[in-house]
Symmetry: C2
Subunit: 365 residues, 2 copies
Amino acid sequence: MRIADLPTPCLILDRTVLARNIRSMAGALSRLGVPLRPHMKTAKSIEVARMALLGQPGGITVSTLAEAEYFAGHGIRDILYAVAITPQKLDHVAKLNAAGADIIVVTDDPETASAIAAHPKPPRSLIEVDCGEERSGVVPDSAALMEIAARLGASLVGVMTHAGHSYSGRGIRDMAAIAEQERASITFAAQRLRQAGHAITIVSAGSSPTAMHAENLSGITEMRAGVYMFGDLFQAEIGTHAIDGIAVTVLASVIGLRPGRVLVDAGGLALSKDRSTADAPHDYGYGLALDLAGRPSYGPAFVTRAYQEHGVIEMHPDYLIPLSVGGKLRIAPNHTCMTAAAHDRYFVVDGEDEVVAIWTRVNGW
Amino acid sequence: MRIADLPTPCLILDRTVLARNIRSMAGALSRLGVPLRPHMKTAKSIEVARMALLGQPGGITVSTLAEAEYFAGHGIRDILYAVAITPQKLDHVAKLNAAGADIIVVTDDPETASAIAAHPKPPRSLIEVDCGEERSGVVPDSAALMEIAARLGASLVGVMTHAGHSYSGRGIRDMAAIAEQERASITFAAQRLRQAGHAITIVSAGSSPTAMHAENLSGITEMRAGVYMFGDLFQAEIGTHAIDGIAVTVLASVIGLRPGRVLVDAGGLALSKDRSTADAPHDYGYGLALDLAGRPSYGPAFVTRAYQEHGVIEMHPDYLIPLSVGGKLRIAPNHTCMTAAAHDRYFVVDGEDEVVAIWTRVNGW
């Protein structure tokens, strides 16, 4: 099967680019002596997980219990569920752990810490620390950090943070500074807990930009990153990878033509309504049109409108999109985590036109 | 099972509100003597289709061939696939039609019209007309209209249009005016084709706002509408229904608390990144927080940030969200077509706390 024969819209995953992105991240972290716990929230695929785990200890990160269950079912034991747990979800975690998984949970809430400790089968737990994103987590010098630790008791094994505010950075120097802030915050939290007698074996940090551009990770035991595997227009804009590091694109068919515009069958559902590049140096609308081979042959051809199943690509007057209705092109996404989630499978290629595999995803909750 | 026991995030569908919305639309069209061909792109559920078809002729509208296949598999024959067809998709349509369906396709492209006519099993076809949205379709007084009709030959059975620009209208008077523009455009196209000797039996128009607020539909044989079934914040803002006409909400758990904010486990994936209310009189961010019973007890509590699995609700200082971690609330969506598409099922209630059914959806392509 060739790309041109696929039904549209669908996801194309270029395994050659994926492998390069994985090598690049592994190399960056290896130079700093820190292993990777890849975040599977972007790819949600066991085949991608196996590639990302090459040369790594074997643990992964997930964002849903559906992912945890899927990856545990594929034999991955060491799973960090990196979204704060609720007491109600502990039974599901315990069930998966009883079946052989070793799911680690995260909390920043004293009451939840007590619920974890009181559970008949408490999972290993990390305290979430806020290193500057101001989304979740306790600040490293807070009394809450110590209180949660005391309540968790024996289930406490470490601390974790996520420098999500790296997405507001632009370029390598910004990312290195935010990575140092991330490192300093989480290692300070770990130090306070150790001084109070807690055994802290996991000091977990990360986001794709900070994992890629950190200059010093001393004191950190593992980095987490996910979107780096696939890349996207936003990550290219903030300097995580070059524009040719985008491994996942949406294949679309032309369904209509007007002067200066091409209408395609990839709209808000197939692309997502993510507009993260609205705040980036280059605003790509809802995505950048590429030719069937994934090359930027159409210049600045952006998806400027995204209806449910219709996408409108505005063409630059200097470039032609030489396609008639039924012709196919590819669209690079703003935010690959959001775009990939609308699809249930990847059509895998190796930099060429031939589809070499179909890999499924675990979506939903 | 009760709402409070459901895993989060998930979709709650209030069948009482759904039934009221369906009666309201049926009543509006019945007064004008025009039947409804409900658009199933929002609900993507056979149970919802059966409710929407009560008292109607039995035909539906779909936005994907996956929907067409699903509904045909559930015994619905008369299916309008309302996104412009490509020549490559005709074999799929023919296969479904050979199995008993009667899928009608849509085109605005002369070459595609020729491909339809040349197909061994040409489906019934409509010409798409642009009544002012400027997304797709030929304008009613164009030469292209007549050329496409000539090329379609015997497969031509009618014309269709979609006043998607009604989404730029605000209030009942705007909608009535756009509905009249929609009616005038499509009936003029039908008249031209009939004068040229074409047998035009289907004159199809519609969008939820124009179907609800049209004052005259003479010459139109059917209206199409979909989002009216579920409603959403955007449709409430533009006057399609009242704010209590929202039948679908996202159930979420509190996963973190900070002064003035609640963090929930419904983020950009569970809610979608749709920001349609950004241009509405009231901007609801990524959604409006409601209590567990679906009431607006928390005042103007909007989801102001949507990460992949985290949503941040900013609380108004005059209102409290009296929940701890693990507590549950509901979120009304900006755009229910986008939000529902992230979920594979509805937990159905009848205005009360008890879950009375689980209905699945057909997602993807």
